[in-house]
Chain length 632, copies 2
């Protein structure tokens, strides 16, 4: 080729580049060639850079309830313009679609699902029947991501703009046959499942058992209900929560005062009696509404303080949860769905914008952190559709922020009735380690496996508690002495009951914190050998040890067991310096593990475990996950 030809080829290449260059949308005239394009050149390398294998230390799932692609587009058009960008939702680099169908009671597909069956699907990896929470088609409870995260030593959070008992948030912390079973007074649809009937109890009561580190939302009203069965019968759920160590807060000041939250002192923020008030209000859809002059939405004066916006709550939750333990956090923008049901376009738009702010918070954290998987998706699609002319059913004519009319149609129910969910596959988008698993077509249940795999959660609940040990403060004591049964490693149990010679030592089961619990009791007056048994309430794991009551035992005071020691801190000076060879039993529930068998080479390891024993098991649970990760 001549040098002229070469120069010309180069010039053509430049020109070709120029012709294909795309102006940034913000400055572009959408009527220009390329003026509406969103990409600025080839993004293959950028996508490649966004592909990071797990594990991730943290997972944040953000759910727009009822936020199908139509709802996203309605919100973008209104708030940012058709060529605009929702700064959170639209910024996720990895995207796909997932299917959201549920099951009939016969185990056949139900093509139109709702929030309970769908939340159960990603919470547990198991499809279920509409209306049920985290039980399978046979009614058997299925462990949830939040529960498994807790059992694996991670911090956990659950944030929503609805009542926290509502389906999406409820599915992470409870297992009931009907999503309406909020509190002990609401169990009509949950026959056999109340505490007095020997069931797991209402959604709120199960939530109190699971003890997520952070729970923020509405639904305070239900906590005024009085327990009708179980260990806290007669007390309000609010009092029960306080008694069990929860930091119960109800306003900005209360939340501001919470500077730390963990299993010992979980935070339960209940900011409204029911659902949060929405962000925007606007015209109701009417028959012929599309023909009316277009109007803008209005800020709702009832809206909570901006410190209680979904974005602010997400920020607070992350602040409380972020640690080397890792965390699982679910955040729900709940009322996109509720306002879509109500044919309230402004309502659903405001809630989508609100969720978008929460996504921005999560993304900001994840970008800084580098070890956080963020997933944004919906539970199911919904009714609202953008149309070009007034439909026969309810519709509304909005004036968008770019000054153009947009007609939104609500055509699945009669005016004044609740609009229906729809069965279309919905968008799922992700950022961070493991996010590649949102690409292509997946099912809602895949999100469970993606999250669990990325967090390296051991999903075998029985095995998680099978390594548990029971240690008595002293295996041989004087009659009537104070004894403490110390449990550790009961990772997948939230409560434990203790018996001494088959009699309960306390009316109320003890809360198991990070797999550990201390149960003080008094030794019998009669000398003899007594069986002490601790049973995990969730896995049924039974730990047993023999207590010898002997008049010849020294009357030395038992070693006090501290209930709070900073994780990773020094071994307390009063830690035992020898290996207990008696009074220590291994778990018998699930797959029993061998008893601790320590050799000289393991002394350093033992010291670590001994220290863990003293801090309520936290260290051990975390250690388990780290081991798991190291051996994968």
């Amino acid at each position: 080729m001549s040098s002229t030809s070469r120069r010309r080829a180069a010039a053509i290449a430049l020109l070709a580049g120029a012709a294909l260059a795309v102006p940034a949308a913000a400055w572009a005239d959408p009527t220009d060639h390329g003026g509406a394009a969103r990409l600025d050149g080839d993004q293959t390398q950028a996508v490649r850079d966004a592909l990071v294998e797990g594990p991730a230390t943290n997972v944040i799932l953000l759910i727009g309830d009822g936020m199908g692609d139509s709802e996203i587009t309605v919100a973008r058009n209104y708030a940012e313009g058709a060529a605009g960008t929702l700064a959170g939702i639209d910024a996720l680099p990895l995207t796909g679609q997932y299917t959201t169908w549920a099951l009939t009671a016969d185990g056949l597909p139900n093509y139109a699902s709702e929030s309970a069956s769908t939340a159960s699907a990603w919470s547990t990896g198991t499809k279920t029947v509409n209306g049920r929470l985290s039980v399978d088609v046979e009614g058997a409870p299925q462990p949830t991501l939040l529960e498994l995260a807790r059992a694996n030593g991670l911090r956990t959070g659950n944030v929503t703009t609805s009542e926290i008992q509502d389906a999406t948030s409820g599915a992470q912390v409870s297992h009931v046959g009907a999503r309406s079973c909020y509190g002990p007074e609401d169990m009509a649809a949950c026959a056999g499942q109340s505490l007095e009937e020997g069931g797991l109890g209402s959604i709120s009561e199960q939530l109190l058992n699971v003890r997520p580190d952070v729970t923020l939302g509405g639904g305070a009203e239900t906590f005024d209900q009085v327990a009708t069965g179980g260990p806290w019968a007669g007390a309000t759920l609010r009092d029960q929560a306080r008694e069990r160590g929860y930091q119960v807060v109800g306003d900005v000041a209360g939340l501001d005062a919470v500077t730390a939250a963990d299993a010992t002192r979980p935070v339960l923020g209940l900011f409204t009696p029911g659902n949060f008030p929405v962000r925007y209000t606007g015209p109701e859809a009417t028959i012929g509404g599309g023909d009316l002059d277009p109007v803008t939405c209005t800020e709702n004066p009832e809206r909570l303080d901006s410190d209680l916006s979904l974005g602010s709550l997400t920020s607070k939750a992350i602040e409380l949860l972020d640690s080397s333990d890792g965390f699982f956090l679910q955040v729900e923008g709940a009322s996109i769905d509720k306002r879509d049901h109500a044919a309230d376009a402004c309502g659903q738009i405001g809630e989508t914008v609100d969720l978008d702010e929460a996504v921005q918070v999560a993304l900001d954290f994840a970008r800084q952190d580098g070890e956080t998987l963020v997933v944004v998706t919906a539970d199911h699609a919904h009714t609202s559709q953008i149309v070009g002319s007034t439909p026969p059913g309810p519709s509304v004519h909005l004036l968008t922020q770019e000054g153009v009319g947009m007609i939104v149609s609500y055509g699945t129910s009669e005016l004044g009735e609740s609009m229906q969910h729809t069965g279309a596959q919905v968008r799922i988008a992700g950022y961070g380690p493991g996010a590649a698993n949102v690409l292509g077509l997946t099912d809602q249940t895949d999100l469970f496996f993606t999250s669990a795999r990325t967090l390296e959660l051991d999903a075998d609940v029985a095995a998680l508690s099978a390594d548990a040990t029971l240690t008595l403060s002293s295996p041989t004591v004087a009659p009537g002495a104070s004894v403490t049964a110390q449990v550790t490693g009961l990772a997948a149990d939230w409560q434990a009951t203790t018996t001494l010679a088959d009699a309960a030592v306390a009316e109320v089961p003890v809360d198991v914190l990070d797999g550990g619990a201390s149960v003080p009791f008094t030794a019998p007056a009669e000398p003899g050998t007594y069986r002490v048994a601790v049973t995990g309430a969730q896995t049924g794991t039974v730990l047993a040890a023999d207590l010898v009551v002997s008049p010849t035992a020294t009357d030395a005071p038992t070693t006090p067991v501290p209930t709070e020691v900073p994780t990773g801190g020094p071994v307390p000076s009063d830690a035992p310096t020898d290996v207990p060879t008696d009074g220590a039993g291994a778990g018998t529930g699930g797959r029993p593990g061998p008893p601790l068998s320590l050799t000289g080479a393991d002394v350093a390891g033992y010291s670590l475990i001994a220290a863990a024993l003293l801090v309520g098991g936290t260290g051990l649970a975390v250690w388990r996950r780290r081991q798991l990760r190291a051996s994968v």
Copy 2:
């Protein structure tokens, strides 16, 4: 850690793996834990492997007209079951969403678009007004992907199940103000755009000018119209096509007989007078239809021979187009939209299944070929929604292939009226080099840039023809001698007119094939110097050379110029062996290029160009793209 602990950790890791193992959906019970999951473990590496930078040799765009996520889900549920997989559409590894809004005539967003504005968006990279084809908001024609592919030396194809003049296919080959302007008798809505008014003519007439190598679809009826203006006035479009070298076929036998198609002998397959009959028929949606017993769809006895299915036509098109030149092929499943308008769920399902087969064909080719970008998307979303109970508007109750009832709602128009498009963002999915550009949120116009960039198309139309040359068979001839004006490199022009001393040498412009054309004419009887000018019809590029008529010129016969030589074949033995130093002019339209300036070192290169001159410019156009690619 003890060896026991180590073994246990390994066992836990194995168990954790087992607990997270997902059975393949085909064999799984969807009521089981993991039974509905679609992924089989982490897919990060699989996604990474799917990321391939361009360039690609070929691009195949497959468009499901009106195929929003709801329409995809309706079809999957019906044909494959909720847990099933559409073997083509669902198999694309890289996925995202794009926005589909149009413009008002004032240049503001129109949130509810239709097939003309949307097809124009990805065909040209320029948004336009509903109803317009590949002109901008001012009415100015915008070059299309198919035209640019042709101008850059690629093979081109356009396949649809609708009339080929319909919006999606029409947008690639025409520039009109109204999509209804199919033929010369249909120009009512296109004032000033007919050939007799000096416009570009009807969609069909523009299609004949563009000369895609392969055009397959319906719309035969329009070709019976008689041209009312322009060079072929008085002839039917069908006769015009034949006269201009098209292989016009109308049935399976005719198509089977076509074994090669290129710009010299393009194939125009017109298999139905209007749109293709659909694949499935079924119950019309009615008020209360969701309450009726569910029914299955029926195979339509009117359906065309399976050799004319969209999959078969796609296969035939690829077979005809596949060469080292590369190709751009658009395939449309047109009647998903049309049956959605008609509230005909079975109709839209069958057409989605039909498109899915075409996607499978494209993917099979691309997987073998390794240099083909396949993109599957829709032009806009549509009305149909899956609901759980009978809506107030039209609905239908289908019995899916898994024996379950599915209610499909059509709620944007009254029963019996045309259902509306909807404005939701839609799925875009890809495979192959450049496919990463479908991820995240893009706009429909990005698909133009992604395709053009991946094919390394020079989008500067004027520049593409600016290197053109005009060579006379002899610069000096005897009075009345036969002369041939040979044009090459007029890459972005489809026709050229030739004048001798400002008088046209023929009534009909010559078709420019791959940038080249031969125009025979007779030299004037009077000695003198005459200006010969060739003007490209599309770019306006003017090429000029002087012809000297002299009685002293030898009366040697002019070198015959063959019109067909196999591409890449040997230089004919009667090829010129010397460089024409006279009678060769460079283009003057657009950005004029320097005249060919050859040195001794370029003799081999020159021979190549000289050979190209003889084969109508094909070699040069391809050479240009290869150069461009090499210099990127």
